[in-house]
């Protein structure tokens, strides 16, 4: 784990907003030289704090009007069934993310679909047929907000 100071925090905050910001523009905001800013960014990347970049697309403008979070319980538990389930669920194109969780459900899935009938198709043909899939709970996403976090 690396120690970060106030300027590193500001760099992370800015890059979370716009990952394409140049080290020159970033340095100007922080009162740092371009090389000093670049070195700080490199250090954060090398330490794995900046893991990569996400292209943020407008789901609705691309025709994906519905996002649903699914809680999935496995019907049969055991090492093989977990691996089979994970491999099969990750291969579904409409499934954007898969998290293994502890609690009421075993997995949490984020699924995108064009509309509700399309979601029903994905749910019936792809999710319900997954190896080991048991009880499924669906919650339709109404709003989604990502916050900068404790930096």
């Amino acid at each position: 784990m690396i120690e970060i100071d106030a300027q590193d925090r500001e760099i992370l905050r800015q890059l979370q907003r716009d990952a394409r910001m140049s080290s020159k523009a970033l340095g100007a905001r922080l009162g740092l030289s371009q090389p000093a800013t670049w070195r700080r960014i490199k250090r954060l990347r090398d330490a794995g704090v900046i893991r990569g970049r996400r292209l943020v697309l407008d789901r609705e403008k691309l025709g994906f009007g519905v996002t649903v979070f699914l809680g999935v319980k496995l019907a049969t538990k055991g090492r093989t069934s977990l691996e089979d389930f994970e491999r099969a669920v990750s291969a579904i194109p409409e499934v954007q993310s898969v998290e293994h969780v502890l609690g009421l459900y075993d997995y949490r899935l984020k699924v995108v679909a064009r509309d509700i009938p399309d979601f029903e198709r994905v749910l019936r043909r792809r999710i319900m047929t997954l190896p080991g899939a048991g009880e499924v709970e669906a919650n339709v996403l109404l709003s989604d907000e990502r916050l900068p976090g404790p930096i």
């Binding site: 992370l12 890059l15 900046i50 691309l62 998290e99 949490r108 709003s143 404790p150």
Partner: protein, 151 residues
């Protein structure tokens, strides 16, 4: 509005958001100038909303991640707005989502360890307004997280 070429660009770009326009153009078998023009158009139409740096909170010492699913007291007209406004003020909250379904909202909360989580939960989460019920899912592993749309 979008044609197959736009989709091809977005598919390649979301798979590797750090590509330069030149490399992206090469992967899409097009000239840099026409790729650049199309990217400009996708951005001005708001299809591409931005580029965000992804922070690995584990690298900063946050080892606990919990998904808190809550139901709110809907007899209060402003329950959602007041809850969301208050949740935004908690630094350890990374995501705020609202749903149509069995749960009303979900917070993604991170903490350095269980002791820290307990502290955040007691002092900052339980004190949020209008909560009637909370369910916790403890994050174990991220199996798929590319968030890529099936374009």
């Amino acid at each position: 509005m979008l044609d197959d070429t736009d989709r091809r660009i977005l598919r390649q770009y979301q798979a590797d958001p750090e590509l330069s326009t030149a490399d992206l153009a090469a992967r899409c078998n097009m000239t840099v100038a026409s790729c650049w023009r199309r990217l400009e158009k996708l951005e001005s139409h708001g299809v591409i909303r931005g580029h965000e740096a992804i922070i690995d909170w584990r690298a900063l010492g946050y080892t606990v991640e919990v998904s808190l699913r809550m139901t709110l007291d809907k007899t209060h007209a402003n329950a959602f707005d007041e809850f969301i406004a208050a949740a935004r003020q908690v630094p350890e909250v990374l995501e705020v989502q609202t749903f149509l379904g069995r749960v009303d909202t979900r917070l993604s909360v991170i903490a350095r360890d269980m002791e820290h989580y307990q502290h955040v939960y007691r002092t900052q989460i339980l004190t949020l307004p209008h909560i009637t019920d909370i369910e916790a899912l403890m994050h174990v592993a991220r199996i798929k997280s590319d968030e890529a749309l099936p374009l």
